[in-house]
Symmetry: none
Subunit: 557 residues, 2 copies
């Protein structure tokens, strides 16, 4: 028989693979089945349709089935559900959802690109009117429709989509409450940084965020319309509608029923060429696993960027070429009002879980030259492995240009650069784009020094524990101005002028010394001086008091 590639799924990986396979092999027969009405759409763009930034929902669909047929001779069958894969005979059973008609089709190569679905928790009331999820274009149309008249909404889950949706709803003048089970929003970011964003959303944007509480049921009126969201901690929140954004799960049932193996993450296990355990059967996109490039361990990071790359690699291999997908760094970015939150590689939380001995630097700095009126603050957190000095992770949040800076470090991590190598990178400079030494390089220089000279510092999230352990034998010294000190300081902290510090320490000889400064840099310099004078056990606070004030552990004190 002739070569026939069948693709199941028509969003990112599926359509990407179809096009790439066509370019690789002009003769190949390609058929793509999807149960959905829309193909090749940007799920990531749906919040911007709801907010009104994108006026026409059709803009979210990159290409139509007609365009695929006409321009690339690819047959796309929408509203066609593949109900079974029979690997023994290389066949799939397909149901036309419009006519209910069932038929068989035969492949020489099969690509499973079935994507993922929103997880709906097993609680009462998820079937009420005005309870939505946000995964595809149709979901966004439903939400868009209610935003016209609704005044109050609840978003369940504070991940990327939940937060982006909160912005979209606020743009529609809807009072929005977010309920999150965990102790922080945005769990791919460390809590200290995530909390900056939470404070910003609450104080500047009026979004109400409830942490460490979970929804127990959704209550409706006699017409089946949602009225209240009830939580574990006894809250009852009035709402005209609710959107469940708890997360997604891979669509693997079809594959598993056919004998395709899944991995420890629950998604389909593939090798670097995107091959499953079955001959001639490939998988790509949200339904498939990846490998973390740093730990080498399987991970499941369902993102459009990864889906596109995996689809491309699968297509090259399917058409007889050779390509490998080398894994992910978990690079991700989200825009939350004026804020950007961006990450790549390992964060502190993961480093601890994975038992990686790391060092870090935190820098809060303007994204442009400080004298440019549109310069905005960003906070960069840079992690390196202690033993090798290699960069392993970066996070950047703030109102300034944080996203592309994370990509600079993602590249350095991919290349296996050490902090010292990276700190010598010749980055561009002009006042509208950065400071003369880019904040990234300032962070790298601090990290390099910390790795090299044994100056120890403590990150805000570990400070509580440090203070408890050292309580009896630790001097806490705040070297900021008396005015700043009066506004807010750590319990037990004494205010000492930097120029008095050495004398003070020489007099008291504390066993442990914790130095508090404004942004981290002066504390680091003071530590360095004291260390050169022979003081031991000097520690400064990463990011300083300006940063500490905003962390969950300290901002209420």
């Amino acid at each position: 028989m002739h070569e026939h590639l069948i693709i199941i799924g028509g969003v990112a990986a599926g359509t990407k693979a179809a096009s790439k396979a066509r370019r690789q092999n002009p003769e190949l027969k390609i058929t793509l089945y999807t149960a959905e009405k829309y193909i090749s759409y940007s799920a990531c763009g749906t919040p911007y349709y709801i907010s009104g930034v994108i006026k026409d929902k059709n803009r979210l669909q990159v290409r139509t089935p007609e365009a695929f047929k006409e321009k690339e001779n690819i047959d796309i069958k929408i509203e066609h559900n593949v109900t079974k894969i029979i690997p023994e005979t290389n066949k799939v059973i397909v149901q036309n959802l419009q006519t209910q008609e069932e038929f068989e089709d035969e492949y020489t190569r099969l690509l499973i690109a079935t994507g993922s679905h929103s997880f709906i928790p097993p609680i009462e009331g998820t079937g009420l009117n005005n309870v939505f999820k946000l995964k595809d274009i149709e979901d966004s149309m439903k939400i868009k429709q209610v935003t016209g008249s609704a005044k109050k909404a609840v978003i369940i889950g504070a991940g990327y989509i939940g937060l982006e949706l909160a912005e979209a709803l606020c743009e529609n003048q809807i009072r929005t409450t977010i309920i999150e089970k965990e102790g922080q929003i945005l769990k791919t970011i460390d809590p200290d940084l995530a909390n900056q964003i939470k404070t910003y959303m609450e104080e500047e944007k009026g979004v109400k965020i409830i942490l460490e509480d979970s929804v127990t049921s959704l209550k409706g009126d006699e017409n089946g319309n949602l009225t209240h969201v009830l939580t574990q901690n006894g809250q009852s929140i009035e709402a005209d509608f609710a959107v469940i954004c708890i997360g997604v799960k891979p669509n693997i049932d079809l594959a598993r029923d056919a004998g395709v193996l899944t991995g420890e993450t629950g998604a389909i296990k593939v090798n670097k060429r995107m091959q499953t355990n079955l001959p001639n059967v490939y998988a790509a996109g949200d339904c498939a696993e990846s490998v973390n490039r740093i730990t080498g361990r399987p991970v499941w990071v369902p993102l459009g960027s990864t889906a596109n790359k995996q689809g491309r690699v699968a297509a090259i291999n399917i058409t007889g070429g050779y390509a490998e997908f080398n894994g992910v760094l978990g690079s991700a970015v989200t825009k939350i009002f004026e804020y950007t939150a961006s990450t790549s590689g390992i964060n502190e939380k993961t480093a601890k879980e994975e038992d990686i001995d790391y060092e870090l630097a935190i820098v809060s700095h303007k994204d442009k030259s400080g004298y440019m009126p549109d310069a905005r603050e960003i906070t960069i957190k840079l992690l390196a492995e202690k033993e090798t000095g290699k960069l392993i992770g970066v996070q950047a949040v703030g109102k300034g240009d944080a996203d592309k800076r994370v990509n600079v470090v993602a590249t350095a991590i991919t290349a296996g650069m050490t902090v010292s190598e990276f700190s010598q990178t010749d980055l561009t400079y002009a006042p509208p784009y950065s400071s003369a030494i880019d904040p990234l390089l300032i962070a790298a220089q601090i990290l390099e020094k910390k790795l090299g000279d044994g100056i120890s510092s403590i990150s805000p999230q570990d400070l509580q524990k440090y203070l408890e352990e050292k309580k009896a034998c630790c001097a806490v010294i705040d070297i900021r101005s008396p005015e700043e000190y009066k506004k807010w300081h750590l319990k037990y902290a004494q205010n000492v002028a930097p120029e008095e510090l050495e004398k003070k320490v020489a007099e008291n000889k504390p066993e442990n010394l914790l130095i508090c400064c404004d942004e981290g840099m002066t504390g680091y310099i003071a530590s360095l001086k004291l260390k050169e004078k022979g003081c031991k056990n000097v520690t400064f606070i990463d990011g300083g008091i300006n940063y500490l004030k905003n962390t969950p552990e300290f901002n209420k004190k």
Copy 2:
């Protein structure tokens, strides 16, 4: 005597070195002499003071002499001109420009950070009133003063400062003409990209740009005020003022008179530790050379970002530490109205001059997801060395986010990444920041294909032409089994077993080598092996003989 660091020059490198030296050594005596009135200022920021973006010129001065004294115990002597260095006795002769008094001072270490000066061409009229340069704060104050009443201006020179100044003048409603001797603006960018910017400035911003013409004289009225700018090609342009932005030259006279050697670029020759040929004498910033990290050759790239880094490295070495400055990539960015022009590494022009065998990809793409209303076009040009596949250069221009993307590639170049390695980098994605596959990666994927791992292949449709061209000097080698060979082979093809291939090639050293295999893959692998052994001009047939036999051109043979 006590350790005494004397620094000559108080802008970027000088003040950076002073602060860094202080942090490294709290006891060191540090004196900085500068003939200028202002220190620690951002020359790069002056166009934004002229445009009005920065309201207060004092914002351009990062720190004052008083702050240096108070906070860091550094003595800064402004309006003090060092007139002579006497290395034999470790002394400098200094003239106080306010009192004219001369005195000697003795150093244990000397840092020359004398910077650069604007080049003023030897033409008539440069001394007229209303003829300016733009190098420091005082220049910008003079220009700012005339912008209130002036209506027409001429800028001589279309480099970074000239173009940034053009924007500033347009913001002041001044009709601006730029005259440039070369055939393009912005000579660090390739002409094809630079021409995009020229068209934009002329058509959208009304700036008049004259290329390939040079100013022969400046004419004034009886009061010595400029009235006309005359050019080689006979133009006479009316102007209320003119600014000479032809370029800068390093300030080396003082150093050279003391026996400090300059390099082939004309700037002070230094090693990686920023040491000159004289003991205890260092140089950093615009007066010193760098090394191009790609070519390994001395270059002179006077930029604030480089000056800061060199100053830091010098200070570490001066205070007994060890640091190296590993050179530059010529990374630079400029904002021209809404346009960004950014570059790092080698451009096409330089690659040709340096005889580097390169491959390139050019991609024009939206900087964000295409459906976002604020998505803007950027054009990326990516260069790699053919032989190694290593990235060697990037340029990005456009109204979109071009700057930080260049920094991503600058990092990849610094790390020595190949295009294939880079194309697998996990960059962040969300619709407000990029397309699902970032334009950078699209460019890398195209370049990767073009490089084909440095292996060239030929498609059956081009093979006939190839064979005709290379006929006399091409070995055609068929590495299939003798049976397959007997059934069908290309005219002139010899049958060689794959394991004999290397030996055969070593014996015959063909000028061009065409490899025929069954399906393409073994030919690819064989080519790869031969290439690794140093063979050049190896080509295999895409799809192999099995595919070739069936093509219209060959199936009748």
